[in-house]
């Protein structure tokens, strides 16, 4: 990759809080059109690493460089205070100015256009995730950071949303930093995997990582077989893909 394709670069980045390393020595690079996925057990520093990449921490060790300002973020948790009446359409233009066409288009992509005028507090968990994702992709960012973007979404929806994420990275050529627990998805939709456990255990293409001993230790032997399951599944997911998208419309 040439220099100007880099969107974010972390060089031995880490953060020390109350004398404990939340995460340390992370080297990471996200390029245009590339999906980088962070995996790891609970508390391994996935969200922390994403926040470091976004510049949300003041006192980090190491270095983080961002080469774009066009960033969209789907946080792991968003709770809307009940004192604030907020409709989906108000939320869509939270940090950006959008035409109503663009709003409708983005909501349609994630299958929640019918909720445009609903109050955010009335949505189910899965619907809310879809709105979060729609908001993030609506401005066509150069960098998209997705922290467990499909939590609470039903299985069919999950497959559709992941394939949507893949499509987005291809069509608008944005870089994506994805945090996910779904190993089967990670192994199929990702260009590069970083396996975290307080530090970078191993990283590489999905195929490389699945063969790595650290990865097997963390996720068990079965997880490396996911690769073969994935290779088997891939055609299947791909062929039903069209159907699901049709259903969503």
């Amino acid at each position: 990759m040439s220099e100007n394709n880099i969107l974010v670069k972390l060089s031995s980045a880490g953060i020390l809080k109350d004398n404990k390393w939340l995460v340390r020595d992370v080297d990471l690079e996200i390029n245009k059109g590339q999906i980088v996925t962070l995996i790891g057990p609970n508390g391994s520093g996935k969200t922390t690493t994403a926040k470091i990449a976004l510049g949300l921490y003041k006192n980090i060790s190491g270095k983080v460089e961002r080469f774009t300002k066009s960033i969209s973020y789907v946080p792991q948790k968003v709770s809307i205070d009940w004192t604030l009446p907020l409709r989906v359409v108000d939320f869509m233009i939270l940090t950006q100015d959008l035409k109503s066409n663009d709003i409708a288009y983005a909501l349609n992509l994630t299958g929640v256009e019918h909720l445009t005028n609903s109050n955010l507090r009335d949505l189910s968990g899965g619907e809310f995730q879809r709105v979060l994702l729609a908001r993030a992709i609506a401005k066509k960012p150069e960098l998209l950071v997705l922290d467990e973007p499909v939590q609470g979404v039903d299985f069919n929806g999950e497959v559709a949303l992941y394939s949507l994420i893949k499509t987005i990275s291809e069509t608008i050529k944005c870089g994506i930093l994805l945090i996910s627990h779904d190993l089967h998805v990670v192994m199929s939709a990702t260009d590069y995997v970083v396996c975290l456990n307080g530090h970078v255990c191993c990283s590489g293409t999905p195929t490389d990582v699945a063969k790595n001993d650290h990865y097997r230790e963390l996720f068990g032997d079965k997880s490396s077989q996911l690769l073969s399951i994935y290779e088997h599944n891939h055609d299947h997911v791909h062929s039903t893909d069209g159907n699901i998208v049709k259903e969503a419309k």
Partner: protein, 263 residues
């Protein structure tokens, strides 16, 4: 003559309600009502300083309250106290120190009730200028930082990640709050200003389903409270601050019946 001061009070009240509506919404959304109270209490120190050193009262209150606001933001980061304890600490100690100083200033004739609860008689043409020019400035700055401030109210991390600089706009917002307190103390008083900020807004919350509507309704609620409150204050000879806030409360209670219908 009587009409004259009533009109002055009305003009002043309208100016304050126009500013208190939008600021009040953010105070409610961000759960800052106790914060507003603390700034208002610290305004007593400002009043006393201005009397002792004969400096402009609004400017002194603005400076003192802004300093207290910045101190609070700083302490929240550096101490282990919870936000509300910290606010209680600052709020009541500034009130105590203010009252102590007041004891030493016995040689000055001084209307403490007017400072605590507002005094419509004391509003002069100069005050009108301060309220309207100050209010216009506050609204202008608020309009300018509206988007980042609103985004960081909904979700701080998200706003920061997407380049909205939440820390900066939060600081600016607290200074705007101090400015509103500075221009409205004469009218509503130290103890009741938070009421004018949050009660019309609370009423608006009951009746609205989006942020813009809530801002507009809280301005309308504030204006109604000022109109009816001042009229009552004039007719039945009550203090202006308590009258305005009581009307706001009645409006809030009426809005409760409306929300029950909705459900």
């Amino acid at each position: 003559m009587l009409d004259d001061f009533l009109i002055r009070a009305l003009v002043a009240g309208i100016g304050i309600a126009l500013v208190a509506g939008p600021l009040g919404c953010f105070v409610v959304w961000r759960r800052l009502s106790f914060f507003g109270d603390t700034l208002a209490h610290s305004a007593l120190l400002g009043v006393l300083l201005s009397i002792s050193f004969e400096i402009n009262i609004s400017i002194t209150i603005f400076v003192v309250s802004s300093l207290v606001a910045l101190l609070l933001l700083r302490l929240e980061k550096t101490t282990y106290l919870a936000g509300d304890s910290l606010l209680g600490l600052i709020s009541h100690s500034s009130l105590a120190i203010g009252l102590l100083i007041l004891g030493f200033l016995s040689f000055i004739r001084f209307d403490i009730m007017g400072i605590l609860f507002g005094d419509i008689l004391s509003v002069n043409t100069n005050d009108l200028l301060v309220i309207w020019i100050g209010g216009a400035l506050i609204l202008f700055v608020l309009w300018f930082i509206w988007k980042p401030l609103f985004a960081s109210t909904v979700n701080y991390d998200l706003a920061e990640a997407e380049g909205m600089k939440p820390e900066r706009v939060n600081t600016i917002f607290t200074i705007l709050l101090a400015a509103l307190i500075a221009i409205s103390i004469k009218m509503v008083g130290i103890l009741l200003i938070t009421g004018l900020l949050i009660i019309p807004t609370a009423m608006a919350r009951n009746l609205s389903n989006n942020p813009r509507q809530m801002v507009i309704l809280s301005i309308v609620g504030g204006l109604l409270s000022v109109f009816i409150g001042l009229y009552a204050s004039f007719e039945i000879n009550t203090s202006s601050g308590p009258s305005i806030v009581s009307v706001a409360l009645i409006l809030f209670i009426l809005s409760l019946t409306r929300i029950e219908k909705k459900n």
